[in-house]
Symmetry: C2
Subunit: 153 residues, 2 copies
């Protein structure tokens, strides 16, 4: 059963609080980016897709594998993940601009969910996240992209 758009929007509103948002951090440079990714991953581990969308900037996009260029509104309207879904990711590299306002990490992700028949499925892939410091000092994702990796042996 897909939750209605209303419920999704309600959840998104409830969860779009400073408790989730990537606040200004004491770390700088690449360390800050790794910390942002860890906070992002923790929020997603605890709250799933509803937390995922709150990490995107107003003009942030997800370049969906097999799909299009999804704006934040489009991401918000994606169906919630099925119960038991998990998305975890591990940066391999992080790098920051000299001005400390734009940076990126890339690495590997594991997405575990259920298929239409309810059978557990695992997708392994790679991701790139580009982070930009917002006018209010918070950090948000401006580009998120993933693609597939070979299945683990």
């Amino acid at each position: 059963m897909k939750p209605s758009t209303f419920v999704l929007l309600l959840l998104a509103t409830l969860f779009a609080t400073p408790a989730f948002a990537a606040d200004q951090k004491s770390a700088t440079g690449a360390d800050l980016l790794v910390q942002l990714e860890a906070d992002f991953a923790k929020a997603v581990a605890e709250h799933g897709h509803a937390a995922f969308v709150t990490y995107f900037a107003d003009d942030g996009v997800e370049l969906e594998e097999g799909g299009g260029i999804a704006t934040r509104d489009a991401i918000r309207q994606q169906p919630a993940w099925p119960e038991g879904t998990s998305l975890t990711w591990t940066p391999v590299k992080a790098d920051m601009s000299a001005s400390g306002d734009l940076g990126y990490t890339y690495g590997n992700y594991v997405f575990k969910s259920k298929d239409k028949e309810g059978k557990p499925v695992t997708y392994c892939g790679k991701y790139t996240s580009i982070w930009k410091k917002q006018k209010d000092g918070s950090w948000k994702v401006v580009v998120d992209m993933g693609n597939s990796s070979p299945a683990p042996k």
Copy 2:
């Protein structure tokens, strides 16, 4: 027939000249990034994979769809594209850090080639390129990633 690694390395060496490299430009900010992408695309249109690899930084990587995280050496050792292959791409957005040393573009690509039976195939997808100004003032790609889009109707 796959060209030998020797031939690939020879080609890569021949083509790794300033004629291909993304030199310092008069444009700045997002305009510079769009210009870099246009130069990059032109070089690839004219010289294929041999030009592709010369646009990567020493520590640049390609996050290969269905593959791994390829270093520049690994990219260099990829088989050359079959005769008649073309890769074109169009930025949808470009953004630069305040310090003007790190930026990105994302957009759409079209890859036309031939399958194992020699039949023409077309893949449509999206890409993200992250560019970083190098110590010598040139601009190189530090991350290149692509994923698939739905086939055009």
